[in-house]
């Protein structure tokens, strides 16, 4: 795919002006980094970072019965939340494979907003629209909203400086306005830090972006790209769809069973997932942490006792721990604490099997 075929967010010119390096992701040309991955990563852990994640999908499900309809399709139980709350959930196929993982914003019983991954938005919309009963409307709203993520211990100060609401509970959201621009301010993120994601009308994103950078200047805010987003989420062990979750990697294998409403009467993939849960998964997603200097990368082979055991699905250098970390699909008999080897371009590097997160998260504090 040439650069010309990639979609651009409404902040593209801002990123160019800030000297970003770009990379294609999910069909979008996105800022990979500005000052550098480690610098941006550290800013988010210690101060605050601002991400443009407008490539993320957006879709609305509206009309009478919208909530019950979505609850009968996606895995997590919408009974667990009320209006004003968001939830992590999965869209599976009938075999239990993961079409996408996404966030559902429950505005009202007849008004839900979904935020799927960039590359999967159209497919999630297609599946929901095909199944929707009369009166329930599923709409692709990918370019209706920009998404700005303000992440890090200083995020409350930055939002407060703009007069925006802060301090609402983790995974809840507030609808507000800034300078006449309507905003949804949600206490969510993909970094493991305290932070917020703002849904902004697509064409107003630059105004809000500029205001956040100006308000954050005294708090050490930096623009941060997808490179830092990936190292931050990997330190948390958060799965990335297409690597750690996929049509071939079920939520039972990826240990995302906490996002499945097992007692619900219906959701896509229910029978297959219940059967896999009862039988026990053939492989499980585990954390691996380097004993030496090796850095695992997706696709590398994991061996145990000299025999092939599994595959690395995500891997990077952890800027916080200063060592290689990753996620790998391994047989269930390989327990936490055991040693495995990863074939790093012909070298057998030793890793310890651990339970993520690799770095303690601070998302939920009040």
């Amino acid at each position: 795919m040439s650069t010309d075929d990639l979609a651009k967010t409404s902040l593209y010119d801002r990123h160019v002006a800030l000297g970003a390096k770009f990379a294609g992701f999910g069909g979008w040309s996105m800022p990979l980094q500005y000052s550098g991955v480690v610098d941006e990563h550290t800013a988010v852990r210690e101060r605050v970072g601002l991400f443009d994640v407008s490539h993320l999908g957006k879709a609305s499900v509206t009309g009478p019965g919208a909530r019950a309809f979505v609850d009968s399709c996606l895995t997590n139980s919408l009974e667990k939340i009320g209006p004003g709350q968001a939830q992590y959930t999965l869209c599976c196929d009938e075999s239990g494979g993961v079409v996408d993982d996404l966030i559902v914003y429950l505005r009202a019983d007849d008004d839900l907003l979904l935020v799927p991954n960039a590359a999967n938005n159209a497919e999630v919309v297609r599946r929901l629209a095909a199944a929707a009963p009369g009166g329930v409307e599923v709409r692709d709203r990918h370019r209706d909203y920009a998404v700005l993520a303000v992440q890090g211990p200083g995020s409350d100060e930055v939002l407060t400086a703009l007069g925006l609401p802060t301090g609402h509970p983790y995974m809840s959201f507030t609808e507000t306005a800034h300078d006449g621009v309507p905003l949804v301010v949600c206490r969510t993120g993909y970094t493991g830090e305290r932070g917020y994601e703002l849904l902004v009308p697509w064409d107003d994103a630059a105004t809000v972006w500029d205001a956040l950078l100006a308000a954050g200047a005294g708090h050490g805010i930096v623009p941060a790209g997808l490179g830092a987003r990936d190292t931050l989420r990997t330190e948390m062990g958060y799965p990335l769809h297409g690597q750690d979750l996929s049509l071939d990697i079920s939520p039972v294998q990826a240990r995302a069973g906490w996002a499945v409403g097992w007692s619900k009467p219906a959701f896509w993939g229910r029978d297959a997932l219940l059967a896999e849960k009862a039988a026990g998964p053939a492989r499980r997603l585990q954390g691996i942490k380097a004993r030496g200097r090796g850095i695992p990368r997706p696709g590398m082979t994991v061996t145990a006792g000299g025999e092939p055991a599994g595959t690395v699905t995500s891997g990077t250098f952890s800027p916080t721990l200063k060592q290689g970390i990753g996620l790998a699909l391994l047989p269930p008999d390989i327990a936490e604490g055991s040693e495995v080897q990863v074939d790093v371009r012909g070298r057998a590097e030793t890793f310890e099997v651990v339970r993520p997160p690799f770095v303690r998260p601070s998302t939920k504090g009040s």
Partner: protein, 128 residues
Amino acid sequence: MYPDDLRYTAEHEWVRSPGEADGSVRIGITHFAQEQLGDIVYVQLPAVGDEVTAGGVCGELESTKSVSELFAPVTGTVVARNEELDAAPEQVNSDPYGAGWMIEIVPADTGAVDQLLSADEYRSQVEG
């Protein structure tokens, strides 16, 4: 960004002649290369005494996002390696022509360095 007193390769290494060790040349990667790689977190270098061949892979540079190979600019014997890069690989980013140097090689053919790109030639390659 591309000092005039150095020689360069198309694979983005620089060569300084002479190096500190007797009869050696010093080798590193260019400003352009470190910028393309991003934050370098791991540098694997050949051992002192290793024989390297011009154009052959002699090491590995790993950044937060990617891996790239280090190529030997000339044929010869490795006589020194920058041990500081083990603990401080970020010096390759912050000072690619100084503290971020990588190895010193005693070339088998002392004229080989003169065959490499001049600063002007290299600059026109990367700035196209």
